[in-house]
């Protein structure tokens, strides 16, 4: 265990490509956590890659031993966090687990949107922030301009910014010194009852569930009996340790330290990010503030393209759910798609991560249906219920009123893009609550219906602001709205998996857009295929896919028999990636792409 005054806990905030991974590697290397031989390029980057592949979206920590210029020996804990609005809560917990941040900015590129989104989280967590200007060795570097920009845009003092080149190693000793001298030591009471924050957890094939904790007060030892205050579960700790970056078992973890515990926990589902870990015998009287149970806000149907894959899919979903507490599922039956699952997610990225894992790790081709939010239905008989799936919408005669979830969204954007952002929010039925300026940046606060945001709002926002906007939101409550169910008919047959719930004022526009999209997405058939959008029995939009007129091989002689046969086999395999509705083949990606709005 290390004395509090000799511990520094920090995160690195940076825009992609600004050198976060390279800096982390240099810190690891120059403190000797890994020998040069062990040091494969970009230790943290390999984690990024995993994240990109959707395998894990988890916090990572590295413990560094450092002897400072004052001759004292320090322990530096670096925590690396994911950065997406879907995981805003998880990131906020990671940020709460450390006291300071290095803000890494490319000295030629300057501050970018992603930097801002993350730096504001660091500010929210009361971090001390040390600006670090990277790539100062490049000819295009303009450290003075970037320093000024940091002060203007973010509003923190950058006069003492550390100038480095993570690539050449220039300035790395200064970074280490700055961590020690400028970041605060953690506080905590060794003699108080154990109080630790559950920062993150994941499943390890050999160890079971590994729980990342930050000790606030007290001391955690092997064989301790601990209690999770939210889930009320108790466990006997069988191993504690730190990441160096390899796992290293230690005797105890004291206040201010970051480390892991294992305790024969079977499922990640049993651990909750933000929960408070304490001793069973001598409990802390107050749990840590800010705990939020994971609550899915986006639902969609997942169906196997090949109905024979259903059992495999069920196994895969059950396995995934063990390792992800924030994801829910229940069986769903669709007239169009057969058996599948209605799944709930934290947001769209989370949805994509889970879907990609099912497809890649379990090799199951999936159809994803339109994402939906949770509606509150008040029926004429006085009962009410939650609606997760447009297909389950009761007859309009039975509905007294429908309420939909609204969010409070905070968007930061350079003022040159403000007009486009306001227009986008307005189009999505937004109500402006606030608009303020900090330097040349605007902060707008909008109330928006979640169902307008859930699908492609973030993508659109990024596109209209060239990536310079940051976006965060929280559910603000439910409101009664004029909502209708819009059905899509393909070749005169309703396809339930394509129906959506939409505001009456937007129905026609959405209907037209979906019909146009489907016209592009569904291949031509040998006959005309009408596509209609309808509310109740009333058609509000219509497109027709013209009949295929020519699809024939001009030349086919003796040498072509094998080639033609193989081509046909390939086409048959392609057809397996489509689902047949009546006589029409619909490609799997059409279900989700039909919803995308271009502008």
């Amino acid at each position: 265990m290390t004395e509090l005054s000799k511990i520094r806990n920090f995160s690195i905030v940076a825009h992609i490509d600004h050198g976060k991974s390279t800096l982390a590697d240099r810190l690891i290397q120059s403190t000797g956590a890994l020998t040069d031989r062990e040091m494969k390029a970009q230790v943290l980057d390999s984690m990024d890659l995993e994240r990109e592949r959707g395998i894990t979206i988890k916090a990572q920590t590295v413990r560094l031993e450092y002897t400072a210029k004052d001759g004292e020996h320090y322990v530096l804990n670096l925590i690396d966090t994911p950065g997406h609005v879907d995981f805003a809560y998880e990131v906020s917990r990671s940020m709460q687990a450390v006291e300071g941040s290095l803000l890494v900015v490319d000295a030629s590129q300057g501050v970018e949107a992603q930097t801002l989104a993350n730096v504001y989280q660091a500010i929210d967590a009361d971090h001390e922030i040390v600006p670090v200007l990277n790539k100062v060795d490049l000819p295009a570097a303009e450290p003075d301009r970037v320093r000024e920009q940091i002060e203007d845009v973010i509003g923190i003092d950058a006069s003492q910014a550390v100038l480095i080149s993570a690539k050449t190693g220039l300035g790395i000793p200064d970074v280490l010194e700055a961590i020690v001298t400028r970041l605060p030591a953690p506080k905590g009471d060794r003699d108080a009852p154990l109080k630790a924050m559950l920062v993150d957890s994941w499943y390890d094939a050999y160890l079971g569930v590994v729980v990342l904790v930050r000790i606030i007060d007290g001391v955690l030892k092997k064989n301790d009996k601990v209690r999770m205050m939210q889930t009320k579960a108790t466990y006997q700790v069988d191993r504690i340790g730190v990441f160096c970056p390899a796992m290293l078992t230690v005797e105890e973890l004291g206040p201010g330290e970051l480390g892991f515990l294992t305790a024969s926990i079977k499922q990640v589902r049993d651990t909750r990010v933000g929960d408070t870990v304490t001793h069973e015998r001598r409990q802390t009287d107050k749990a840590l503030p800010g705990f939020k149970p994971a609550q899915p806000v986006v639902f969609c149907g997942l169906f196997p393209v090949d109905t024979n894959d259903f059992d495999d899919m069920r196994d895969a979903i059950e396995k995934l759910a063990l390792n992800d507490a924030s994801f829910t599922y229940e069986m769903e039956t669709s007239a169009a798609l057969g058996f599948g699952f209605r799944c709930g997610f934290l947001g769209l990225l989370h949805l994509e991560v889970i879907r990609d894992r099912l497809e890649r790790e379990y090799d199951i081709d999936l159809i994803t249906t339109a994402p939906s939010v949770v509606y509150h239905l008040h029926l004429t008989d006085g009962t009410h219920s939650e609606l997760h799936n447009p297909a389950d919408m009761p007859d309009v005669m039975q509905i007294d009123r429908i309420e939909e979830p609204w969010i409070k969204a905070t968007i930061m954007v350079p003022d040159e893009f403000l007009g486009d952002v306001l227009k986008l929010c307005q189009e999505r039925r937004g109500v402006q609550l606030d608009l303020t300026y900090a330097g040349s940046r605007a902060m707008v606060v909008y109330e928006l219906p979640l169902n307008e945001v859930v699908f492609d709002f973030y993508d659109r926002l990024k596109s209209v602001t060239k990536g310079y906007a940051s976006f965060d939101y929280a559910i603000s409550g439910y409101k009664q709205e004029q909502l209708v169910k819009m059905s899509i008919l393909v070749n005169d047959e309703p396809v339930d998996a394509l129906s959506i719930i939409v505001h009456r004022s937007k129905a026609e526009m959405r209907g037209r857009s979906m019909c146009e999209k489907l016209k592009e997405l569904i291949p031509q058939h040998m006959f005309k295929v009408p596509i209609q959008a309808a509310i109740g029995g009333r058609v509000i939009a219509r497109e027709t896919i013209s009949a295929l007129r020519k699809d024939v091989t001009a030349k086919c002689y003796g040498g072509d028999a094998t080639r033609k046969r193989k081509l046909l086999d390939k086409q048959k395999a392609g057809k397996k990636k489509m689902r047949q509705f009546g006589k029409v083949d619909i490609p799997q990606e059409a279900f989700i792409n039909a919803l995308k709005m271009d502008g």
């Binding site: 006959f527 024939v552 086919c556 028999a561």
Partner: protein
């Protein structure tokens, strides 16, 4: 034996060209100084090798394709035909075709080909428009083509020629005029292909880089196909296959062996064969690269690069793929006997109702409407 319903033909591949055409994905190579005597020996050696495996067969047809077989010396052609007659047995009245480029130089060899036994010439005229010929990378002019065609018509009873349509910048009316002229010249057979951009060709390269401009939209290409059927029918050259038109009785018997899924021997580099041997129907292929083939034949006694037995199901599929190209269609009974998974009667009925397929007894075939959609029909039938 199943193959007997299609017949037996010998395909001879001559892989050399004076220049490579930008649309052509056939096995063709530009080489100077081809040693014709060496090739003669190699081709006849291959004939002997394949004939030893299929003894006592009567050869119904021989086809010299390429490349440019009209670059063969007549002595080479004569030697090949003689070897086929010696190692197998040439049917009386066997059809012996040779593909020829319509240049004056090659026309000078036509008489020699006739004396060697060739009785049908298939000319790669491709277009009767000089600008189009240039765009297609052809080395002859329209006038030269007409002159060569006249020479062929004076020497052979059966002359066919090829035209390519749905070319860059081609309008429907221009094709109507060109095809009408062709029909007025025609002897007994026309092959009319829509331009297809095949991988591995220069056109494909250009196409991928967005530099092949003016290709007709699918609707215009469909109109051109339809117009082709109408004009040819009206002139007495009904389409007996997707891209082939003939006066009744003047169909290419050799090509019909492929479409009727008969047996065929592939002689020369990159030639494919289907041979019913002791263990059933076998797909064969020879080395594509001319010099590799030549040295393999000379030094190892065989140019074969692949030999694979074709499963019952694959035979049935191949039969269907090939035979539905013909106006006479396919026999579902033969398809089933070969081992094809049953074609759903509902699918057939649905396609018939949509006017794409006809059914008479156990035979089915693509209708005039269905023909340009044959690939889509096959996907349904063989799903």
């Amino acid at each position: 034996m199943d193959w007997q319903q299609g017949g037996f033909g010998v395909y001879v591949h001559w892989p050399f060209c004076l220049a490579k055409c930008p649309y052509c994905d056939f096995n063709s190579h530009v080489r100077a100084g081809v040693d014709q005597a060496a090739w003669r020996r190699a081709l006849t050696a291959e004939i002997a090798r394949v004939a030893a495996e299929t003894p006592d067969r009567q050869v119904d047809t021989v086809f010299f394709g390429g490349g440019t077989p009209s670059l063969m010396e007549p002595e080479t052609v004569a030697a090949v035909i003689e070897a086929i007659g010696t190692h197998w047995r040439l049917a009386s009245g066997a059809e012996i075709s040779l593909e020829a480029n319509p240049t004056s130089v090659e026309a000078g060899r036509f008489r020699g080909y006739r004396d060697a036994g060739v009785n049908r010439i298939s000319m790669g005229i491709q277009s009767l428009d000089d600008r189009a010929l240039k765009a297609l990378g052809r080395m002859h002019s329209a006038a030269e083509a007409r002159a060569a065609f006249d020479v062929a018509r004076g020497l052979f009873d059966r002359v066919s020629f090829d035209l390519i349509h749905a070319r860059q910048g081609q309008e429907l009316d221009a094709w109507r005029a060109e095809l009408s002229e062709a029909l007025s010249m025609a002897v007994d057979h026309l092959s009319l292909y829509q331009l297809t951009i095949e991988p591995g060709t220069r056109f494909h390269d250009l196409f991928e880089r967005g530099r092949l401009k003016g290709l007709p939209e699918p609707d215009l290409a469909a109109d051109m196909y339809e117009l082709t059927q109408e004009l040819c029918e009206a002139a007495g050259y009904p389409g007996y296959e997707i891209s082939n038109h003939a006066r009744p009785g003047a169909e290419s018997r050799h090509n019909r062996i492929y479409w009727r899924y008969g047996d065929y021997a592939g002689i020369g580099p990159g030639a494919h064969g289907r041979l019913t041997l002791q263990d059933g129907r076998t797909a064969t292929e020879t080395l594509r690269e001319p010099m590799s083939w030549l040295s393999a034949v000379t030094e190892q006694g065989s140019g074969e690069s692949l030999r694979e037995s074709v499963s019952a199901a694959d035979q049935a599929t191949e039969y269907m793929l090939m035979s539905l190209r013909l106006a006479e269609g396919s026999d579902l009974a033969r398809y089933a006997a070969l081992g094809g998974t049953a074609v759903s009667p509902d699918t057939v009925a649905g396609l018939e109702e949509a006017g794409l397929l006809w059914q008479r007894g156990s035979r089915i075939g693509a209708t005039r409407t269905g023909r340009p959609l044959l690939n889509a029909i096959l996907r349904e039938l063989l799903a």
